[in-house]
Symmetry: C2
Subunit: 211 residues, 2 copies
DNA sequence: CGCATTCTGTGAAGTGTAGCACTAAGTTCC
DNA sequence: GGAACTTAGTGCTACACTTCACAGAATGCG
């Protein structure tokens, strides 16, 4: 029986990992998988996978497991990945360029449709076939492309004003690489990528080894 | 009274955010802060900050709050950031170069002491004053520099063998940018940076708006 | 100098998530 | 075709984390 409750956010965050693992299984030509096997690949317990999926329906067969392709398609549909999502990227420094050039976005339904920077020398140039524009063009591009997703790869000092412009222009979800917590309205989703903080949390454990 | 229990990992993960926010406060010339004010800056409740800190001691003054510099130094000490940590980086593509060139690592106690790649054209070149070496040199460099931290920025297909080499050479903590879950011994810490998965978890919510 | 105010540290209560363990359903093989 | 085996879905339990709410400590002000 299908559940009535909304799936918790932790579950939503795991879905992309399930989807990716299933994609790899497909590439390997494996077309059936049990929760046990899938769990071993991504270091999650079998029970957790089954419970997570149960928020969305019943996708497996008892005694067999899951049809890889069918489950993959289901999860893509749940995540809204049957369509391609336009994304704008603000900040075309080393990191921004690396992101713009990474084809992992494009192949996974994320199309970079706008690049923005403040550097006059960069404006007008192209990276990965997309022209770099001034901040002033953000609202227009976001409107024209109907982008709802943005990646912020600017220095910490610029991130908040950039986020304000983006949100004002209609962006509803931000992936922020700047080392700062953004202040945003409740109806905007913000997630952070913060390698320095992650490394610092690991130095805690390393410093405690052999003590 | 100091607590006896080990602080949970979620707490450890928040400490770097506290430290960073305190650093910004210092830069602003603010030298006293309440848990309330600190919490508003990083979107965490005041109670959570106080409870988190209570795992490590008593750092505040009732009626006053926390001395910014003292608390900052305490957290740095807890995280083991009174020393600089040598880090090796494997994979010097666009992303690897962006990481190697980012001075946010160096200024935060993370010194990149080794760069490795398989591309013969890259080997021998320097990025940010560090020479790119072949994989074969990894054990030697890790031994010589006493590195315990590694960043993996190679394609998914190379990540597992690279991790195996690193761990074998003495690396104890890995920050993995490759879109794959690494299989590692229990005494090695692994964290992932996975922008595509993060964006995919947000498309879930965007796809459900106006429904 | 004492009362109102501010703010920490923490036991207790509340919340949310993960894992267990069982039922039921499907498969395989003899 | 039936016995042994595999595995999904799920109620329940246990645990871990967060939040509440209050006691105690420091300050300021009238």
């Amino acid at each position: 029986m299908e559940r009535l409750e909304d799936p918790p956010d932790v579950v939503i965050r795991r879905l992309p990992l399930y989807a990716r693992s299933l994609r790899y299984l497909l590439d390997e030509g494996i077309n059936s998988v049990s929760s046990q096997e899938l769990g071993e690949r991504i270091n999650v317990t079998a029970a957790q996978i089954r419970k997570d999926l149960s928020y969305f329906g019943e996708f497996g067969k008892q005694g067999i497991g899951y049809d890889v392709e069918k489950l993959f398609n289901h999860i893509e549909r749940i995540l809204g990945l049957t369509q391609s999502w336009p994304v704008v990227l603000v900040g075309v420094g080393h990191l921004g360029q690396a992101i713009a050039r990474y084809d992992g976005f494009h192949s996974q339904g994320l199309q970079i449709v706008g690049l923005f920077d403040t550097d006059p020398l960069k404006i007008g140039q192209k990276v990965a076939d997309v022209e770099i524009c001034a901040y002033a063009h953000m609202p227009q591009v976001i409107h024209d492309t109907n982008a709802r997703l943005a990646i912020v790869a600017v220095p910490a000092s610029d991130a908040q004003p950039v986020a304000d412009i983006l949100i004002d222009a209609g962006i509803r979800a931000i992936l922020c690489y700047a080392p700062i917590i953004l202040q945003t309205p409740d109806d905007v989703w913000v997630r952070y990528i913060d390698p320095v903080a992650v490394l610092h949390s690991m130095t805690y454990y390393l410093a405690r080894e052999h003590m």
